[in-house]
Symmetry: D2
Subunit: 339 residues, 4 copies
């Protein structure tokens, strides 16, 4: 950490400041410049409040040098983390697609979609039983009954299940669910993150509506610091001023996260865009940029879906997308031959 | 609701579309324009999914005509709601200031600050016992012990208390707390909102980091739809691309909310700016724009505060601010005399 | 255009409003709903000021039904526009890559880079002679001398040239330049756009730092309305709150623009990201999402580049990228074979 | 400037890096930390490209210590700059209001508005003759005829005039105009800024649609570095994701700018909000936050204004606003008396 000292500080002021730093268990190291004096702080600076330092009379600004996340940090864990669940391995060079409806609506609906999705190559089935909806008057999901249907899909097709959990008190209901999803609106629901850190299930953590990449990693850090290191990160679009799409899919977050962290990186092109006709192009972009997998909404009858039918792919659209994704993955990962 | 029909639709296509609308219990009303045909939808459109309609082949775009919030809507409740708590009335023309430290650190700390704050005119004491922190390694608050200290402050100074609740399971601990605060990161924690809707305590609902004004009102609607109509809204700055302040304080949200809703509107200049020296100017701006009150951080020893010392006012700064706020309130509310 | 009428309007008020609309040469068509009355406006509404209508006492809100851009609108020009320049065709199914240094620094530098870029498959050479720099103290480009060097590159390699123009008065200097680039900061420099509309050269129009997709199309419309319809649009990243990249590359803008307009769509992964190591992943994403081409910075000695060396690819990096881009293009455009 | 060195650098690598810095005429100063090594760079770092350093293999990140603006920087010019024009002094403790219509439409219109505005206390008359409009099909202003009308207003009422200039070639037409306004869309039209730097007229520089505070100051620096130090900065709202207002008025930019620069700070509540009913609250907020003045749109017949009638105040609304503004100014600037 570097503290930039205000102009005109006296030697006394500087000495006092250094004493203060020592009292906080960090070692000050003064550099006197032509126009500016800075103090390098050496030691464990994670407990120092940058904003507080910046508010001190003697200090003009503070710059953090090392990232505040540790367990999620690739520096301390250079190899990719592989999250294995029900025979499906996320990270480490594979590409996994989780597909299914936004909301679980009926057993019949889920069976139809699961069969088609699996046939096209999906390796995990998704479905929402507890739905975070902007309006209290909108369909809130089937709840426990929805989870029961998902468990049946799992038994029928031998495929792991991912579903969103909104309340730690519901954990017992999720026993049969393989991957617990944390929605964008709950990315900084620290209560929930701590509780999920005490479970042993993989967590699919969605980036908040306007979360920075660092905040996403700090949210992962909450889960990991509580004991659960099987976290997968999901880019699902961020808020912008443009209203032509629901969100802006931040495609460069994928290579940036790849550098910063060893955790698997998933993309959700359905929520990022909000419109069926944009899902495939954005899915292709995510794969081309190096994502480890996708979560995609598929529905056999979008016009009668209980939620977000507008962004669901038909099974035949999903099938074509899966074929092109395989080609794109080859294009970016296979060695280039001379010629 | 208005559906804009795609160019080149046949009469058959239009008829089918109208049949679909009728099956959804809304009455279609077709307007054929020179370039464009639109269908006005009359009836209860709250359950219709705009995104789904927009994804239909026959439809180009859909525009909502009426706001999706009802109980929070001034149209259906023209008079200001007054939230009364412990003898303090929020809304309806008064101006209330909630002041205190970011975090409860000790009984002594709270007593010192409460005495000073009350003397300067604060009518509610604030203090955090459960703290939402970006880092799992940062101070998470004193928890139950902090709430006990707040209860002592309440008894000692006869002043109502506001404190943040992060988990509905903690509700029993908050028995002595008068106003329950929902933090920005939990604004769309729908589980929490629903539970708070079943209590009878006033809720201070903070705007999410990048929430729209409409989303803030829909979050209030969650609480109100569950039975608790004593909701106060709090503008606390929104995320922007500029890093000179922690957030951008959206001052025009105050008159916009005044128009849209009857609920009291509070401003938090401390979190909005993140720096002590910006707190008073932004507080003045909020009062000038018509806020019903403020929530402000005050600390007698910011350099040793456990959290957010960088944005706390000293008691003497708070005192001057309170005096100027009274003058500003008069400037904007008193009748203008001729002269 | 749809005007939503304020609640409680009298029949007289509604009649007056309709008379006002007629005086503005649009035909009003009233729909009385249960809660809300709306007026559909039929005729040429392009000259009506939405904000003004919304400020009228009788009106609550106004929704535009048709897009404000015409010449750039795919509705009125369903086929892709192909911009042909020096034997290179942009749009209509091809994929063109413009490559070269951020700034022209010397003849030798340009010759080295041009030779490598052409060999790897670049079809246009880029180089900046007039540089828009945030700081007045930064290198502002070689000016006319730089353009002369670009003309030599053109003669030597028989490859068209693109370079940024910042001032319409410089047009005579650009005689040998094939494509005139308008930088992001000048996207709404309407004076410049109008003058470029009077030339017969293709224009590469970059999206403004925080421009909406509609504003980009309206900027194109300025050029086209003045007579020059050879406009290419360039997505180059938009401003966001996250500081891990210079900008957020809005990859979904590519399929959105494809739908809205017939003009060629180019992507600039260099400025979008600001860091060499992110350029290739974002370039792959752009190609996968359906872009018609790229503009990319290449430099043989980035450490000594006069500007933006941090985002330049080395020739060997560029070469690998070109090979993978070809594979990605096939992956998304070729027919899917059964198997 | 501080360079943070990548982990695992060898002593050789570090020595080479230091040699490189010396070749760039800055003195390196190495600090070896427990986890991280940083190099402080002392000397003139304004010509060093941060992005380039960050792209070097040996370097992880770079932090700037001193601001890149000089002439606009309060550090090097602690006293407020007072811009005097036609007997009106901006900055240094006064409060000036520039008022008038968005567009000049006719001599009669301007005379009516100017008389009313002056009577209510406006000290400068504003009116647009060259209008930057998003659409090429919208009214583009009266041009030279509009400037002639403004010159007549000046003679008739003895009041200075401010009007927007979009093209440096128009400078001769602006001889009678006292203050040249640079619109938000031209804030980084560096060609225009440089030319205005060669004039001797005060410049009213509007913040770009999504410009950072630092970019605004760098734009001012362009004008000042070219010789004209009479620059006034104008906050007029920045782009956000919320569509309830046209822009978000960044009220905290006022105290932030006050700290960073000695230049006068003006606010434009009309463009910031876009709606008449929000103009006064935001104007009050700007004054309360410490602005040196306002630019406000006034029109006697907004329903027939040629542009932006939706945000204009009627003369009587303006009059009330001026009275309340005077009270607010007193509230924030007068000494607090004991009581």
């Amino acid at each position: 950490m570097i503290a930039i000292v205000r102009e005109g500080i006296t030697q006394n002021g500087l000495d006092e400041l250094c004493e203060y730093f020592k009292s906080q268990n960090v070692q000050p190291h003064v550099i006197v410049g032509e126009k500016q004096t800075v103090v390098g702080l050496i030691g464990d600076t994670t407990s120092i409040d940058i904003h507080l330092l910046e508010s001190m009379d003697q200090i003009e600004a503070v710059r953090r040098v090392s990232e505040p996340f540790k367990k999620a940090n690739r520096k301390f864990h250079p190899d990719d983390t592989v999250v294995e669940v029900g025979g499906v391995a996320f990270g480490g060079g594979s590409f996994q697609v989780m597909a299914g409806p936004c909301s679980v609506e009926s057993e019949e609906q889920c069976m139809i979609i699961a069969e088609a999705a699996k046939k096209s190559g999906a390796t995990v089935f998704r479905g929402g039983a507890f739905k975070p909806r902007t309006s209290p008057y909108a369909f809130q999901g089937m709840g426990k009954d929805g989870l029961d249907i998902l468990a049946k899909v799992k038994r029928e097709f031998g495929i792991p299940i991912v579903s969103e959990i909104m309340d730690a008190r519901d954990l017992p209901l999720f026993e049969d669910i393989d991957i617990l999803q944390v929605g964008a609106r709950n990315m900084q629901n620290f209560t929930l993150l701590k509780e999920l850190g005490k479970t042993d299930k993989p967590i699919l953590l969605k980036r908040g509506l306007a979360a920075t990449i660092d905040e996403l990693l700090m949210a992962a850090e909450y889960i990991m610091a509580n004991g659960n290191e099987r976290v997968m990160l999901c880019e699902r679009g961020i808020r912008s001023y443009d209203k032509r799409t629901r969100n802006v899919f931040d495609v460069s977050a994928i290579p940036v996260l790849r550098e910063l962290t060893h955790l698997p990186i998933i993309a959700d092109p359905s929520h990022a865009t909000g419109y069926t006709r944009l899902v495939a192009p954005v899915a292709y972009a995510a794969a081309a940029a190096g994502a480890d997998g996708l979560e995609v909404e598929v529905h056999h009858d979008p016009a009668h879906a209980a939620s977000d039918g507008a962004q669901a792919l038909l099974p035949e659209q999903f099938d074509e997308m899966m074929k092109r994704l395989a080609l794109i993955r080859s294009a970016v990962t296979e060695p280039i031959t001379e010629g």
